[in-house]
Every structure is written in structure tokens, then in C-alpha cells.
């Protein structure tokens, strides 16, 4: 299946899916690039910078697929939209906060991204399946990295463990929105572009997160459902970040780099 053969309603739904994939990677990449120079140790400065660079690169690739599909421009999609036009999941609205918060968010995110990419490698839309297969190999390193950090903080002193647990509990409700059903999802499922319903993927992700937290001695999380505005709600924190990452593009409209 290629861009030319999609029915208009299916194409619109595929565009919505690509936008969520791109915006998730773009926004988390920007938040965590803020750790460059101030991470808890030098090795982590390097690691976080590298991981953020991966995510921005993945965002670029998803934006380019989307631009091909809708005859748009990847740079405009990344930098030329108003803050309320972004479709990242609600738990990516929060500021970077402290290291435990970042580790908690990355752990929830990487587990979700792994579940999502494992499904998308089976997409009937070839460009999505190809890109997902390639990204999975890179994301494996990210998940391993935050798995190690989750254990380190959970098994460290009381302060680290308490901060980690409080961050996980605070993020958990908003994190559900990464698998919030999409407008037009039925069309994506029917066409095989999305190989499994997002609600089903959310179940797989919850199981893995619960097992991961239990393995490091953290308590079980409450049952929660995604809220309807999980991918449209925006915050002052995000408005600030949006101002930062669009600054260069706004200062010289039409510039290329």
C-alpha cells in the first residue's frame, strides 16, 4: 500500500497517526535535550544528548512521511504550527523537572514506543513499516538505558526512590494518552495501516510497565483511562517549549539550514 492508493478518509487518518508519532518524538526530544551539560554525570550528558538526537531524527523522518502523504513540508510541520496544533500525548506537556521525573517519563515513554513500533512493523503501509523496523533497532538502546536508570533510582536511597515513585504516579494518568484512540482509527484498522487497536496496545504497555515496576520493588499503579483531550490539551510549560524550539525558524522566515 502506498500514498497514491489510499482512499481520502484513510489518508486523513494515516496523516493523524503520523502526526502523533512525529510530535511525540519531537517534543520528548526537545525536552530531554535540555539535559545536555547539566545531567547528573558526564556520561549521562553524552547519553541524553545522543538519545535526544535520535528522537529528533525520528521525528524528522515521520514528518517527512507525513509531508509526502499530504503534500506539505516537514520543516513547516515541525516549526510552523501554533502550540495548540501539536498532537503529542499529554504526559509530554510537563517541563523536564528533576532527574527522577525525567527517568520516570522516559521509562513510560520507551515502553510505549516499543509496543507501538512492534505493531507498526506489521503495517500494510510500506513506508511506515520500513521506518518502524529501522527505528526499533535504535529504540532498543533507549529502553535498555532507562531500564537501568529505573533500577538505579528505585534501589538507591529513600529520597531517589520517593521522587521516582511520586513522578511515576503523577505521570501515569496523562501517559495513558499515548494510546488514546485516534479519529478515523477504524479506517486505519480496516486497511491494516494500524495492525492493532490502540486500546489493545495500551493493555500490552500497561502489563509491561507493571511488570517492570514490580521487578524493582515499586508498588502497583492504579487503573486509569485516557481522557478525551489527551492529545489536544496543552499547558503553559509546552507553550514555553514551543516558543523555544520555533525561535530560530521565526527569526528568519523561510530560511533553510
Amino acid at each position: 500500500m502506498t500514498a497514491e492508493t489510499l482512499a481520502p478518509a484513510t489518508r486523513d487518518a494515516a496523516a493523524e497517526l503520523l502526526l502523533t508519532l512525529a510530535d511525540d518524538e519531537f517534543v520528548i526530544g526537545f525536552w530531554d535535550s535540555e539535559w545536555t551539560g547539566i545531567a547528573p554525570m558526564l556520561e549521562e550528558d553524552v547519553a541524553m544528548s545522543s538519545i535526544s538526537q535520535d528522537e529528533i531524527g525520528h521525528a524528522r523522518a515521520w514528518y517527512e512521511l507525513l509531508a509526502n502523504l499530504t503534500d506539505d513540508d516537514a520543516d513547516r510541520l515541525a516549526f510552523g504550527r501554533a502550540a495548540d496544533e501539536y498532537r503529542h500525548a499529554a504526559f509530554l506537556n510537563h517541563a523536564r523537572t528533576d532527574w527522577a521525573f525525567t527517568v520516570a517519563r522516559r521509562y513510560l515513554y520507551e515502553q510505549a514506543d516499543a509496543v507501538r513500533l512492534e505493531a507498526l512493523v506489521r503495517s500494510s503501509y510500506v513506508p511506515i513499516a520500513e521506518l518502524a523496523a529501522k527505528m526499533r533497532r535504535e529504540e532498543t538502546y533507549h529502553l535498555m538505558h532507562f531500564d537501568v536508570w529505573l533500577r538505579r533510582l528505585a534501589e538507591a536511597g529513600e529520597d531517589a526512590r520517593a521522587r521516582l515513585l511520586s513522578a511515576v504516579e503523577r505521570l501515569w494518568p496523562d501517559a495513558q494518552s499515548i494510546f488514546q484512540p485516534l479519529v478515523g482509527e477504524e479506517a486505519l484498522l480496516a486497511a491494516g495501516i494500524l495492525p492493532a487497536p490502540l486500546a489493545e496496545l495500551r493493555g500490552t504497555w500497561q502489563e509491561r510497565v507493571r511488570a517492570g515496576l514490580a521487578a524493582v520493588g515499586l508498588p502497583a499503579l492504579a487503573e486509569v483511562a485516557p481522557s478525551d483531550d489527551g492529545r489536544t490539551r496543552r499547558t503553559d510549560d509546552f507553550a514555553w517549549l514551543h516558543g523555544q524550539f520555533t525561535m530560530v525558524a521565526r527569526s528568519e522566515v523561510g530560511a533553510t539550514w
Partner: protein, 156 residues
């Protein structure tokens, strides 16, 4: 043509060149298409590589046009680095990645990336310091035998 970030190895030895084809153009001219398979999706050297490959081949003046499309199929994996490329990496102080076959996630990958042979003394008694190094494709190890830190081209 050398890799922009690791000049010791060529793009062919690195395995990033996919299909190469001569294609007829509608105007009767001829186009050379050289597929580039990026090592990492977010590799910042991609644009430089595309540009340099295009310039080098255009300078040969054998076709009317050279195009260098990006392809993710087959996905580049570190197993694509040729035996000559591996030897050149080693000679320039980079440990080559272990061959990973189809194992690229979970516990198996963890075992693979934790292993490297020191390019300076040949010892296998090494530890992984950081799977994330100075560029996306490099990890940092330490040799317990000769006490030398060294980089490894990441297994991916």
C-alpha cells in the same frame, strides 16, 4: 568516498550503499541512482554524505544526472560493514561491532553490546562504559588489560 565521521572507512565498506542503477530519463538522458541506507535515522551526516556522493559521481560525467535517494529497506545494520571495513575500523582504534544476526532486542542485544575486543591490545577483558558515545553510532568501552578507553562502532 570516506565516511564523514570516521574517515578511515569508505561508504562502501560501511555498507550504506544500497542498489545502484542506471535509468533512462523521459528526455532521452540517463540518470544514475545510488541508494543510501542511513546507519541511524537521525544521523546528522546523512545530508553531507548524499551531497558528496552526488558531487563525486557527477564529476565523472558519465550520466546526465545523479540522484541519491534515502532508503530504509533493507535496513542498514552493523552486520553490513564489510570484513575490510571491520579491519580498517580496528586499525584506526575503533572496535568493530559483533555480528548480531537477527538478534537486536532484549537480553540478546544486551549481551552483544557489552562485548568488545580492545583494538589496541586485543584483550577481550573489556567493560562497556556507555552505550552512547560522541556520535549516534559509537559506544565507549574500557580495556581492563591495557587500561585504555576506546570506542566501538555500535551493534545495531
Amino acid at each position: 568516498m570516506a565516511d564523514p565521521e570516521i574517515p578511515a572507512i569508505s561508504v562502501v565498506e560501511l555498507g550504506v550503499i544500497g542498489q545502484v542503477a542506471f535509468e533512462p530519463r523521459a528526455d532521452g538522458g540517463e540518470r544514475l541512482s545510488v541508494e543510501l541506507l542511513p546507519t541511524f535515522v537521525g544521523c546528522p551526516a546523512i545530508d553531507v554524505m548524499r551531497q558528496q556522493i552526488g558531487e563525486r559521481l557527477s564529476a565523472l560525467e558519465i550520466v546526465d544526472e545523479v540522484v541519491v535517494p534515502l532508503r530504509f529497506t533493507p535496513p542498514w545494520t552493523s552486520d553490513r560493514i564489510t570484513p575490510e571495513g571491520r579491519e580498517k575500523l580496528r586499525a584506526s582504534g575503533f572496535a568493530p561491532p559483533l555480528l548480531i544476526g537477527s538478534a537486536f532486542d532484549g537480553a540478546e542485544l544486551q549481551l552483544h553490546i557489552a562485548q568488545a575486543t580492545c583494538p589496541y591490545c586485543g584483550s577481550r577483558n573489556t567493560t562497556l562504559d556507555n552505550p552512547f558515545g560522541p556520535t549516534l553510532c559509537r559506544a565507549i568501552h574500557h580495556c581492563e588489560a591495557c587500561h585504555q578507553p576506546f570506542e566501538q562502532f555500535k551493534a545495531v
